[in-house]
């Protein structure tokens, strides 16, 4: 067992545990907290695969900004009534379970076969060695993907202007 594999399994157990905790805990804050840990572990997976930039962007964007805003909203709105969050309808519960199972089966049918071949895969760190550096990503963004990149920034600008308009309608 290599050290990478040991780190992976440790992280994987935490990841699954926190992923379940996101939907299983009744308190909204604890759910958000579990999601924070889950995102952090996801960043660790990126590091493990040799993609440092993607991992750090994951921490930056999701943990540093988005989840802080999530927590901010949860606290400000005082979401915390566990009773409202409990599902009681038996039929709904069964339907949700069946749908979840179907989705799981779909996912597994696609994932299991490649996973069984992982022994033959090349070392991810050598595959990603030159691809995921800041220089490579930057060069890609500003040459080949320049148009989608700029269009996305316009989209974000529209989002910002729209949210200001909604918040300050009277001005």
């Amino acid at each position: 067992m290599t050290s990478d594999l040991f780190v992976f399994w440790t992280l994987a157990v935490i990841s699954v545990f926190t992923g379940v905790a996101v939907i299983a805990t009744k308190s909204a804050i604890r759910s958000a907290l579990a999601l924070v840990v889950n995102f952090f572990i996801l960043a660790m997976f990126y590091f493990l695969l040799g993609s440092q930039l993607l991992g750090i962007v994951q921490i930056f964007v999701y943990l540093g900004a988005i989840m802080v805003l999530f927590l901010f909203c949860i606290m400000l709105l005082r979401v915390g009534h566990a009773e409202q969050l409990t599902e009681t309808g038996g039929l709904k519960l069964a339907g949700a379970g069946a749908l979840s199972f179907a989705f799981l089966a779909l996912l597994m049918s696609q994932v299991l076969e490649p996973v069984s071949r992982t022994a033959n895969l090349p070392d991810p760190q050598s595959v990603h060695a030159g691809v995921s550096t800041v220089e490579a990503v930057g060069a890609g963004l500003f040459t080949r993907w320049a148009f989608p990149f700029e269009v996305t920034s316009v989209l974000l600008l529209v989002g910002i202007v729209g949210s200001i308009l909604l918040a300050k309608r009277r001005v």
């Binding site: 604890r30 930039l53 750090i56 962007v57 927590l71 901010f72 400000l76 800041v134």
Partner: protein, 404 residues
């Protein structure tokens, strides 16, 4: 066993680097707390802790022991799990953010991990510091604590942007995100033409502006005076740590100081030339002097043997700056805090970034023209803004409008 072989080993080398970095961080924090109390006392014409040990140096240790044995009071209605782990979450980024900061030229000893995203790593990890404060404030089941936590999150998000843009200028100018490379680019000839001076970024015009923005932002990021609104004692008792006592309070306290240390180290590396003792290139002077002992001395001062001490000296200088601010400035009002971050630092940082980008892309002459144009533009805009800022009076009661 050969020392170099041990240091080059992927596991043992990393372990040694971690022990050096963490040991330094943990052992210097008590000294810093003593230094803060002592320096603050001198600035305020007091004496400060002077009884325990020489110059009162052991005072922090005693306080630590006292906090350790104090009764821990847990208020009713706290979210116990979150309340318990919040101080740990606050300490975690402070301990890990130090991993990519180099304190000397020897890459086998420092930094812990020399990754090609060094600056981004420190910035990303340090932005996690808000979680400890926000969660601690929420879990305490105290409205003042909650307000402190909310203020902290809003403040951090606001000042992170200006800080990121000011870091962007350094990254563009140095052409790398790797911290040792950023230091190396500061050891080159001054403005590319004066060989006996180092090119410390704080001595360049854009670096000076960027450095000042970074300095203000880092004080805000660490929740220190004059930006200590999350724990404003005149309004919020003690803010997010009102309900924390005993060791949990000590851990919060320690996290704050470790964070100050990390940001001082980052400022040193990015703007103050890292481990080089002076902006003057001593090795160059040593090459051009005929006095043998002077040349030897100059070479020794800039050698890698004592590079770490210069770095620590600059760190202590940064911390002293924090303390100086605390002794001098009153706390900002909340709207002033937001106005400074969004209307003052942000535009300045973006314009600075634009000027540096034009300089790097099109050469020095267009860069200078752009810088002058941008300065004039910025002054014109801020003059108008400042007048409005001064004339502005805050109506507290009429501004709240119900949601429709």
């Amino acid at each position: 066993m050969d020392l170099n072989a041990v240091l080059a080993h992927p596991f043992w080398g990393a372990l040694i680097r971690i022990i050096i970095a963490l040991g330094f961080l943990l052992s210097i924090v008590p000294f810093l707390i003593w230094w803060e109390r002592r320096l603050l006392s001198w600035m305020q014409d007091r004496i400060g802790p002077s009884r325990v040990g020489p110059f009162g140096l052991l005072q922090t240790i005693c306080d630590g022991v006292k906090l350790f044995f104090k009764e821990e009071i847990q208020p009713r209605g706290v979210d116990r799990f979150v309340w318990m782990i919040a101080p740990g979450i606050a300490l975690f980024p402070a301990m890990t953010a130090y991993a990519t900061i180099p304190w000397g030229p020897n890459l086998q000893l420092t930094p812990v991990a020399n990754v090609n995203i060094g600056v981004l790593y420190v910035l990303a990890i340090s932005s996690l510091g808000v979680y400890g404060i926000v969660l601690g404030g929420w879990a305490s089941n105290n409205k003042y604590s909650l307000l402190g936590g909310l203020r902290s999150s809003a403040q951090l998000i606001s000042y992170e942007l200006a800080m990121g843009f000011s870091l962007g200028t350094v990254i563009i100018a140095a052409g790398s995100l790797e911290l040792p490379k950023i230091v190396a680019s500061q050891l080159e000839p001054f403005w590319g033409s004066v060989p006996w001076l180092h090119n410390w970024f704080i001595l360049t015009p854009w670096g000076f502006i960027g450095g000042m923005i970074f300095l203000v932002s880092m004080v805000a990021e660490t929740n220190r005076t004059p930006f200590d609104l999350p724990e404003a004692e005149s309004e919020l008792i003690a803010g997010f740590h009102t309900e924390y006592s005993s060791m949990k309070f000590a851990v919060f306290f320690m996290g704050e100081y470790a964070m100050m240390l990390v940001f001082s180290a980052l400022f040193t590396v990015l703007f103050l030339g890292g481990w080089s003792p002076l902006p003057v290139n001593l090795t160059y002077l040593a090459d051009h002097t005929s006095v043998a002992w002077l040349a030897g001395l100059l070479r020794f001062l800039e050698s890698s043997w004592i590079a770490g001490f210069w770095f620590i000296g600059k760190l202590v200088g940064g911390i002293s700056f924090y303390i100086w601010l605390r002794a001098t400035l009153p706390r900002l009002r909340y709207d002033q805090l937001m106005a400074l971050g969004w209307k003052g630092l942000m535009p300045l940082a973006i314009l600075n970034l634009a000027a540096v980008s034009i300089w790097i892309a099109f050469g020095i002459v267009p860069g200078l023209i752009a810088a002058v144009a941008i300065t004039v533009l910025f002054l014109l805009v801020t003059m108008g803004g400042l007048k409005k800022f001064e004339a502005r009076s805050v109506t507290l009661l009429d501004e709240a409008v119900p949601l429709r």
